[in-house]
Symmetry: none
Subunit: 239 residues, 2 copies
DNA sequence: ATCCAAGCTTAAAGGACCTGTAAAGGGCCG
DNA sequence: CGGCCCTTTACAGGTCCTTTAAGCTTGGAT
């Protein structure tokens, strides 16, 4: 019983010879010159050239998060001089690596060994900020031991904040980056969603993590500077 | 956090140098000159020389069946001339192989990659989630003492949910992974089958295990967090 | 102290999404 | 060939989410 395999490599010759080999072994094979031409194909195994992964860590991360490749095993192909680097890709989440050129037999054996294993479990992809954790896999916000369900927009906004902690964003910037695309909403919309988030964090005392920066926008910070102003030269004359 | 590793190799020098390397990486390492000196040690990983496995198929089979090594990953070590044979060991159930002599870095990377994977498990025939059990052998869903017969698609969907408890899946992902291949159905189809499952679980009060995540898809969870949404802005105003 | 600008809160309209029902299409077995 | 069951599609009804708008509160400056 064959598996589905996607080959991503720049050289046509290598692609087709590899393809022939794998098809003879009963697999369903497709080729692509570059990543991103897969069109919804969900390969059980991804054979990808070292050069198609740059930067490596980022690319692997993206493959692990993408819908169609989350469950794929990944074998990295690299010429011998680069093999050392390819080996390091194992550290970053690849399942195996192979030196090019390779012998047909070794390819088949490694491919089969890889396919025999259960697909690499998606390492928990969670965003953390002190006591609160956004688990994208289960789509929940954990505050201590409590789990909150967030509406779609609330969820995206929270994820954006957690990915960009400490920085201030204007309302229009938030609308551009945390909202679904092709949505044109007024700036007040942000206020409402920020409020919803604060409201849900309030019972746990974490609503102060989303901070208003008057005249600029909002900032998320896990270490809520204590109430009152900061870094502002205050008139010494007190009432 | 280290893992337990057993090195089986005839040469003392190779054993100790390898041991030092792995201990420096924080693992709990033991050595043996031959297989069968392990004395109840249950290694997470077995580093074993090619020559200690003869005949190969038999030895691997025995390791997979033996109590102390059933859960161990296995990496086969072989001098380059024998590497071809060692590669074939992958076909017979080893997890990886490595040429001797090796560079320390490659050893560590492969060991870690191997350990990161879940141990090869004789996949269970029964999937359990709290009070409900899907028995693939008899093709039935057991809820408490009652047995339900599920239609094919219902059965696959239920099995998929039980194999991936807690995570949210979009409709397209469910169609891709829980439906028979080469089936192209609309996303609404998933809704109906989810309903069928819920309907059959309802008499037992377990229909809440399949949870809707609005805008994203569905999730199966045996612990159906307390009713509905939490902390949603509710009219606090006077009656 | 007072005023203006900016942010906060609430309510309600509108729409997107999910549910449940019904009926058509297809395969399998008698 | 006919009936039955499973699967899929279609649609009405209802629920929940998003956005807008309006009044209220707060912060900062005159």
């Amino acid at each position: 019983m064959g598996s589905s395999i996607l080959i991503v490599h720049g050289e046509k010759q290598l692609r087709t010879s590899t393809r022939n080999l794998l098809e003879k072994a009963g697999h369903d094979v497709r080729e692509a010159k570059e990543l991103g031409q897969a069109n919804g194909f969900r390969p059980d195994l991804l054979l990808i050239s070292w050069t198609a992964l740059s930067p490596v860590a980022d690319s692997l991360q993206r493959l692990r998060n993408h819908d169609t490749t989350r469950q794929s095993r990944i074998i990295v192909l690299a010429p011998r001089p680069d093999l050392r680097a390819a080996i390091n890709a194992l550290e970053l989440g690849a399942d195996d690596c192979l030196a090019v050129p390779f012998e047909g037999e070794e390819l088949l054996v490694r491919v089969n060994a890889c396919l025999r294993r259960p697909p690499s479990s998606p390492q928990a992809d969670r965003l953390v900020a002190g006591p609160i954790v956004l688990d994208r896999g289960v789509h929940r916000l954990l505050v201590g031991d409590n789990a909150l369900e967030l509406a779609p927009t609330e969820f995206r906004l929270m994820a954006f904040f957690l990915e960009n902690q400490g920085r201030v964003f204007s309302r229009s910037e938030l609308l551009a980056r945390a909202w679904a695309k092709n949505i044109h909403a007024g700036p007040r919309t942000v206020d409402v969603h920020v409020r919803r988030l604060r409201q849900q964090l309030e019972p746990y005392g974490h609503d102060t993590m989303i901070q208003t920066v008057r005249g600029f926008g909002y900032r998320f910070s896990a270490t809520p500077l204590d109430r009152g102003r900061v870094g502002r030269p205050s008139p010494v004359g007190a009432p």
